[in-house]
Symmetry: D3
């Protein structure tokens, strides 16, 4: 994630929060006042977004110094200092909330992902995200899933085919839908098909689908599907996945488990910016 | 919230998800195919964002029909149909995820807010939000707080003065900070000051601050502060507020309780778009 | 006003004037030619916008040197040099008009404001601006009002409530309008009400309005209103304010006098950029 | 001026004034309330911008009805109704200030231009504008100059060559500068040269310049220059032009008189929007 | 390609050509003048972009009528009428060049693609495009390749992995590069590897690459590679492909032939817009 | 062409190709890896766009070193190195295609232009471009025409009047059309009229048109027109111009020959970026 990709997101966030100017800082801080601060963990979590936080302050002023002490993907303990920041006091005060709002959310995604990853440890299942991301922040959230040890599903509607129930119905069946997709989409994209029972599994395999999305199946159905598929396609389970159910699902042998909650129901972690 | 304000948010969300085109729909749905769908509640919640969902589909095609059956602010029961949608199948399929991603989050904010509001019922306390919102979605989240029965704090750094510890330190004390703010900001803006003990309460009152932010005080301290303030200023409590503590805080007599969790730690509610 | 806020305005201004390129400079100036120039006052005025002028040249080339000799808010005498500029000749020639167009207007606002401020000297009245600003340049004009010694009214429709005649009519009276505003807007925003006679003054006071806009009142009416209000609210006079009338208005004891002319009818001051 | 050109200007103006929402209207006007208003002239002026005003309201809501009673370029008497507006009350209230801010400025330009045009009536001189326009509003101001009976000079740096003193110096003389321009710029663009005395007039004519900018010349010098030039080039006078001097300048026989004041020192005319 | 995707391209093109206004039309056409025109083929070609042309005129005015007589993908003979256009004369004159500039290029791509497709008729090879597209117009050019009967390669760097020589060198060999890609990219994306000889073919197959890019191989090498690969991966030939060589390449049995010339060296076809 | 003008074009091109990230580089190149490369000519051509290529890499990272060895406008031989590039490997790999896509096209335009210029060597004719440019890239293509030794026609619809057949028809004849244009457009713009026979030539001359566009005339007609016009106007030939016909057209004595093919039918030249 270089600045080319994230700067527009950060600029909009700063514009949303600062607008025509921070009246409090304007009123109380003399121009030129310098300040130092540290970002401190107020609970345990997995870090994600430290460079995003850095970039927020540097967009406000290229002169701001920001030394990160921990890198993304690492586990952080309550009380640890994540980074030192030094620069114009107005810059630190104006960037604080935007930097924290982003960092706390990104760590929230990484931390929740890490919990799912730990839950399936020892199985061959990879925990992946979905398109159920926060509008406008998808690249940051998908990056955070990777920092938490998970994998990414397709980025969006444009970079992979995922034929769901409604597409199948419109195309006249799984076989027809997959055949049309193979004709019409780039040969570089895989074709995934949502299947709900063993007949559909068999039909999708016969149609040479690359990935089978085993949606809302019972554990028994999942196991049967995994066995039927063998090495002929990649298996992905979805639906009803949470921290209680994910281990059992993983033990059915599915290769991937996609979890909407990673990005739609995480909680911001607690981080403070303390002026020193 | 008219389309003037929300369209840029929705366009970016659509561009993020559709980009150069939905390859699956392009591959499997014949141009011109019509479809109907309904938005269905999969759990109980407070509705917020139904017009946002409508606008998503209409930005993709002005011809899409969208009939809402429930309006924002109402409590919804699991199984209820929120709206009917009818139009080009490609439009429905391409707008589905963006519409749901926004709607589910907005309802999440409204529902969590409603829980806090219920918890303080019968007291004079108003539950309000903070600037701890999702970058890029602040207007939608603050709107949802209102739909959940809460009130809004300032929108951003530009529309009210909130003098915190660091501003006080830089200005040389509460009295100096408030005086400078009164000189420098528009007479239309109120001046709020963060105070941590009774001495600061007294100093802020003497300085004629409009609002006192009673930050991280114990219940006893809050009660004492409320009594000391009387009608001379508005009192606002913040820090350590959750569904377990909010009632006790409200009963101290504070006028406002600001809750970061309303917008930083809500959970998306479950809503399905079913094709019929 | 940091570059975060003003750069978009300056970029648009440069794009408007330069577009696909300055054909004259392209035709007559060899690439790499260096030049020096000075900004010279051709009349007396109050300076505002010198950093804006600097930023114009630096957006064209970060290498341009710009040394300001006078700072915003100071009175300038005809013939004084405001700043030295040194850099690529093409940059100086291409930035000249945009820099002057902005600087001359900003000084115009500051100078007219200073005249009004001088006129009320010794009274307690503060001269403030309105929303009658040049579309696209509001932040620059409101900044210039401050440089001229005036104060700012609300920035826009979003940062304060100002209930005018039509809002009152729609809400069913001043009392109802103020009550609804108190319920619906953030507690951080003050509520101002336009009143036209003593009955309305009394009603607005009873409704606990924070500010009373005494619109188009005679001097006698203003005096009576000021007396009636006392310390219960802030008084603001508007309507028919010009350099001939402003002193008398101020002497009625009103706290604020809002003057549309500050930003809608100023004259650009005369400044030259002389190449040396 | 179709909407393709002016919409971005109007959208920015609306965004500047409305931002995250008009809190007063939100608080006091019930959604769906209808209203009617009329735009009324409060003084005599020349109309310019009535379609711009219309477009402001229609950008807020395509349903707004706007019937113009007078067209741009016509003289308006105090008390005349310019247009009727009917639609959503919130739209009328939110668009009012932006529409008036633009309309009053555009009429200001047209009215001042008309005064200069009247002053030279009967001579062959055409009053034209300059690049001394309000940043961001150039197309609207140049349009208004035409509505006031004036002509337009070049739009910007990209659409005509105007060789001034500094270009001449850099190129090594008028002859060299004109020759280089003829080689390097499109054959579709005319070449204008600033000249300060009869020698320079002669040199520019010899170099086949298309237009001679007679800058800051006395009336006698102007007359001599006009005679010397004859039909060999177009003559344009500039510098020290005001309503007192313009007639004498015109009577020297110059073809064009460029007047910076048309766009840099006009006064907004007084127009009210009355709700009925 | 719905308007959501192409409108920004068309708006920029219109802005580039119209800018502050079409001075010729402004000068010579009375407002409100109506006109009709037809788009006529001046040579034989394959049509692509007729809806893009339509959209250009409708962006200028939603009232413009545009009836297409031929649809994209069809072969057109010299003299055939492609579409009828009726509307405001100014709109037709202002949109003409932008519409033709786009349509003529899109048809150029489709027509060149069709020539390559005809050349490989009867083989199993699919002609596909590359990323060697015109900056800013990629979606239009890739669409036109499909209209000419070709297929699309990946859209851009974000939607498929293509490991080239430099990536292999940096990763320490084909095996390592493919393994890392499999770990790090979404399971929905295929992994293509550039190979230059049979050893690399074997290594890439062993690493389970999905697609092999057989770059700049002789016909004999291609045949050998195709045989070696069998059904284990998709084969794609590239390098030195033109209308003389493409048939022989196709007869080696490769599945795909990627041709940069489709989008980097096509010729605009000749289409006229005739006013009637 | 400073960065002010071309950066938006380059940013869009980079965004089009990189989008949410280069998955291949992300997967295979370790962050921080450095690399060097050279741009090498694979055929003979005229260089144009080397600074554009440089800017592409520097927009991705300001730290990238780019040393150009040849400047725009020079003839390049196959095998010559155009520039050295050194920097972050990811930056070089991500910028490669965009830089080449632009550079190869710009050189294509310059090279084709140079061929036309050589063909008319010794005549007084100047080869100029048209508005038949690639949408979005006009400034780059027109610059490249100059690098190839040609001249530029008007930039767009806004910077010169070109009265064509349809304008003449709408205005009621050449005389009327020219007269109206003279009244309505800035005096700084020339007026060009399309004429098709000697009668129209005579009428346009009588109307004092500045430039005559001799459209689709035979060589004999061109010669006659040139003679008739003499020094009264500039003559420009267009229609049916190619490398076979251009010499004969030039020898009729026309001053300008406009050639659409320069920008609508050029071929990208072959340039490689070799990593070393």
């Amino acid at each position: 994630m270089n600045s080319f990709i994230i700067d527009p997101i950060l600029r909009r966030a700063l514009e949303e929060d600062i607008g025509t100017g921070d009246v409090t800082t304007l009123a109380t801080i003399e121009p030129g006042t310098q300040a130092s601060a540290e970002l401190v963990a107020k609970e345990d979590f997995v870090l994600s977004g430290i460079d995003v936080a850095k970039r927020v302050f540097q967009l406000l002023s290229a002169e701001t110094a920001f030394e990160k002490l921990i890198i993304d993907g690492q586990a952080v303990k309550r009380g640890e200092v994540l980074a030192w920041i030094k620069g114009d006091a107005a810059v630190l005060l104006q960037g604080e909330r935007v930097a924290l709002n982003l960092l706390q959310r990104m760590c929230g995604v990484a931390t929740l992902t890490a919990a799912f990853v730990r839950a399936v440890e020892g199985t061959r299942a990879v925990v992946v995200d979905t398109r159920k991301t926060t509008p406008g922040l998808r690249v940051l959230e998908k990056y955070s899933v990777r920092m938490g040890g998970g994998g990414n599903h397709r980025m969006a509607l444009y970079d992979a085919v995922l034929i769901k129930e409604n597409h199948v119905a419109a195309a006249g069946g799984i076989t027809a839908a997959v055949r049309r997709a193979k004709q019409r989409v780039p040969h570089t994209q895989k074709i995934e098909v949502e299947v709900r029972n063993q007949d559909e599994v068999a039909e999708a395999l016969a149609a040479n689908a690359d990935i089978l999305l085993l949606d809302n199946m019972t554990l028994a159905e999942l196991s049967a599907a995994v066995e039927l598929v063998g090495n002929q396609a990649i298996t992905e389970a979805s639906g009803g996945v949470n921290l209680e159910t994910v281990r059992d699902i993983a033990e059915t042998g599915v290769r991937l488990i996609s979890v909407g909650a990673l990005t739609h129901s995480y909680r911001s972690v607690d981080i403070s910016m303390l002026f020193v």
